[in-house]
């Protein structure tokens, strides 16, 4: 079999491993792996390598990690970061300006109408 055919099968290893290969192509690859020692060995190495990465243990952050981050944020913001923000900080200035105009207009209309 020409090298290109082996390469074409190798190009599908990832999709085959992830089971995202089309059914027809997966069957072709399975049949090829059953008869081609070279590709079978390569696929086993491929599967072994990906399996080794997937099998790595999960690392956990230190127990007091949230305290460490909170301390860093406090230090860098000189203690100003946390704490509920004032109404004026949470509502955009444009909305406050429109509200103020509406109130002034309402008062003006009320005075004029009396």
């Amino acid at each position: 079999m020409p090298d290109e055919s082996h390469d074409a099968f190798e190009a599908d290893f990832s999709d085959f491993y992830d089971r995202t290969l089309s059914e027809v192509r997966a069957k072709e690859l399975e049949a090829h792996l059953a008869t081609c020692e070279r590709c079978k060995a390569e696929y086993e190495r491929f599967r072994g390598a990906v399996g080794a990465v997937s099998g790595l243990g999960r690392m956990a952050a230190p127990r007091d990690f949230d305290d460490q981050v909170a301390d860093t944020i406090r230090r860098r913001s000189a203690g100003k970061f946390f704490g509920r923000r004032a109404f004026g900080d949470r509502v955009p200035f444009e909305i406050l300006a429109v509200l103020a105009l509406v109130v002034v207009a309402a008062v003006y209309w009320f005075i004029r109408s009396r």
Binding site: S14, E44, G48, V50, G51, A52, G55, R84
Partner: protein, 194 residues
């Protein structure tokens, strides 16, 4: 984005410290694991994880909630990783000789068989040894940073392609082909280290 995430985001924008702690506790291990597997050093990963969460809080007002909070966090973590990897490369901060000794000892303990060939056929068995884990970690660290990121997101964090696309900003076809090349490169590196 779920309703729970939206409520949390609202509290985060109000700079509510309890909300901040909830978020850190919910995502710290995911972020730390990603960073550790990308960088390969615990101290660096701890330092970088802090920077990720500090960035999250600095830029929380800019997050529009168009993606999941975890996706946004992963994206920030990935960007920090890229910068740190470049910085470390400039500093030549890689203890190569120490890792080589580790690999030699591991190979000797396994009868000199290549880590990526044959001996790793049963990954569960092979990974029982901390030495083998270090070799796999070293192989990941030797990949170029783009390959490293997709392999960590897909094969370690077990994220769906859709989420990897959202994190990297790449189309699905590019992510798939990059992942395939990364896995092939990893296979060769593991075989070589044996």
């Amino acid at each position: 984005m779920s309703l729970r995430e939206r409520l949390l985001l609202r509290r985060l924008r109000d700079r509510d410290e309890r909300a901040f702690r909830e978020m850190v506790e919910a995502y710290q291990d995911q972020v730390f694991n990603l960073l550790f597997r990308m960088i390969g050093k615990r101290e660096e990963a701890e330092d970088l994880a802090q920077e990720v969460f500090v960035t999250v809080f600095k830029s929380i007002d800019q997050f529009r909630g168009e993606s999941k909070l975890s996706t946004w966090l992963y994206r920030i973590a990935a960007n920090h990783c890229k910068n740190r990897i470049k910085y470390l490369a400039r500093r030549h901060d890689r203890s190569t000789s120490q890792l080589d000794e580790t690999m030699e000892r591991a190979a000797a303990a396994q009868g000199g068989a290549p880590v990526g060939a044959g001996r790793i056929d049963a990954p569960d068995q092979a990974l029982e040894g901390a030495e083998t884990e270090r070799i796999v970690q070293r192989a990941i660290a030797d990949l170029d940073e783009d390959h490293r990121l997709v392999i960590v997101l897909r094969d370690i964090e077990e994220l769906a392609y859709e989420e990897i696309c959202a994190i990297t900003g790449l189309p699905e076809g590019t992510v798939k082909s990059r992942l395939h090349r990364a896995r092939l490169a990893l296979k060769e590196k593991l075989a070589k280290y044996g």
